[in-house]
Amino acid sequence: MTRAEIQKIVTPILAIIIVLALWEFWVWYMGWPTYKMAAPSDLWPAFWQYRELFFINAWQTLWRTVVGLGLAVVVGTILGMIMGLSRVMNDALYPLLVGFNAIPKATVVPVVALIFIGQHDFNTILVAFMISFFPISVSIAIGLSTLEPEYRDILRSLGASRFTVFWKIALPKTLPEFFGALKVAVTLAFIGTNLVEIVTPHGRGLGSLFDSGRIASNYPLMFAVLIALAILGIVLYYFVVALERIFAGWAERRPT
């Protein structure tokens, strides 16, 4: 490994350790009991005690987030294509989407829970999807509608079909914007999943573990769940980054 590579790994780890140390010191300095603010050293015992629950619930949260996000990618891309390729559809759909996106999803959760009563997996996926498809469709729509006409013309002048132009030029050209939006969407989907898990009492997912910590006044457990959520969020985010490297790595400027 080169120096630069080692530095790339060591720097964030160091930053995390520093933050944890400051947090620990702060709690110790203020003399706070665990029911006011847990210190990092309280978290590991809490996690270890409930480690099985952590893994079961993390898996619940993870798969529902990923399915919701997958749905958001499919539907968001289709909506984005419709809006990006047709001006009329763009004018028609845009205000609707903006309005839909402006509705706080916390208010949607009880509505969805009432409509599809008892369908906890479905509800969770639905909310994760609803909260995360918007940035994807907007980015795809903008990417497609701002395609310079010359790009289209080099292929259209050879008699290429609209689909060929889309497949060979418009789609790959939109990929960097798509992945930018996906990085936002992955975090949003995660929030959506947890929202449902915390608000509706079904006892599944890290959100519900958080809620049981709250009910049992087990503050270290609540904090441990928050850290687990953060780790899961980081894992999902970097998974998207890895996909971006593979499919849109060309958009990264190489040092020349």
């Binding site: 013309d153 002048s157 050879l158 008699g159 190489r254 020349t256």
Partner: protein, 286 residues
């Protein structure tokens, strides 16, 4: 007897006209076109006439916004005129065809492909069944001709503006188009790079003759590159003046400083001023 005579005469006339038409690769006849805008129709071309014989290089100059780019889109079959006819090989243009190559001011290379793969792009559309190795060989041949043989595997972002434009020219020529449409391809380059590319155009023409229509704002460029310079009037554009640059290639760059060229440039300058509607020194153009 009489009928046979008439038939023979008809066939003869037909053969003659086909030959005549073949010689004129592009014919634009009485083309009028207007864009439909919110504020009403915006006429851009008015009774425009233009013809380019096989193998000739035609430059079109005119004031800004006079409809020169519309002209390229009409020839490429990307648009159709309100009235009049655009013909390629004597055949009316009704749709885009595979025998056109285009290059623009913006080289529009695909950032996710290497230079070689960018040049191949038109072949993927025009000759989908051609073997990959064959496509690559053809692209390599052109890239070597423009001096990019060491940059085949680079990304467009790793190249300078002039090199990107060279790659763009290769892409427009890779499928051996009948007609090359150049919409100000050298407009955004610095003066020295531009002169390099002008000379490159002559070299390419010498190696692989093609017919070209060049849209430009640069009168020196038009005189150096073209066999025929057409001045369009201000919008709506019509053919205002045609200048034949009678000088067989390859032309040395210092031909631009000859008395003859200075005279041509002066004539064109006057015509542009007329087209812009001011300071007409020579009246009487159409």
């Amino acid at each position: 007897m009489r009928r046979a005579y008439r038939a023979r005469r008809f066939l003869h006339g037909l053969a003659e006209s086909v030959e005549e038409r073949m010689r004129k690769l592009i014919e634009i006849e009485n083309v009028t076109h207007a864009y439909r805008t919110v504020a009403g129709p915006l006429p851009v071309l008015d009774n425009l006439n233009l013809s380019i014989p096989q193998g000739k290089f035609c430059a079109v100059v005119g004031p800004s916004g006079c409809g020169k780019s519309t002209l390229t889109r009409l020839i490429a079959g990307l648009m159709f005129p309100d009235s009049g006819e655009v013909r390629l090989h004597g055949e009316r243009v009704r749709s885009p065809r595979k025998t056109v190559g285009m290059a623009f001011q913006n080289p529009v290379l695909l950032e996710w492909r290497t230079i070689l793969q960018n040049v191949i792009l038109p072949l993927e559309i025009v000759a989908p069944t051609m073997a990959k190795a064959q496509k690559e060989a053809r692209a390599r041949e052109l890239l070597a001709m423009v001096g990019l043989e060491d940059f085949e595997d680079k990304r467009p972002s790793e190249l300078s503006g002039g090199m990107r434009q060279r790659a763009s020219l290769c892409r427009s020529l890779v499928h051996k188009p009948d007609i090359l449409i150049l919409d100000e391809p050298f407009g955004a380059l610095d003066a020295f790079t531009r002169e390099d590319l002008w000379q490159l155009m002559h070299k390419l023409r010498a190696e692989e003759p093609f017919t070209a229509l060049l849209i430009t704002h640069d009168l020196r460029e038009s005189v150096y590159l073209a066999d025929q310079v057409v001045v369009l009037s201000g919008r709506p554009a019509t053919t205002q003046f045609v200048l034949d640059i009678d000088m067989p290639g390859p032309r040395p760059i210092d031909m631009l400083y000859s008395t003859q060229s200075v005279d041509w440039l002066a004539q064109l300058r006057d015509q542009i001023e007329i087209a812009q509607g001011r300071g007409a020194k020579t009246e009487g153009a159409i």
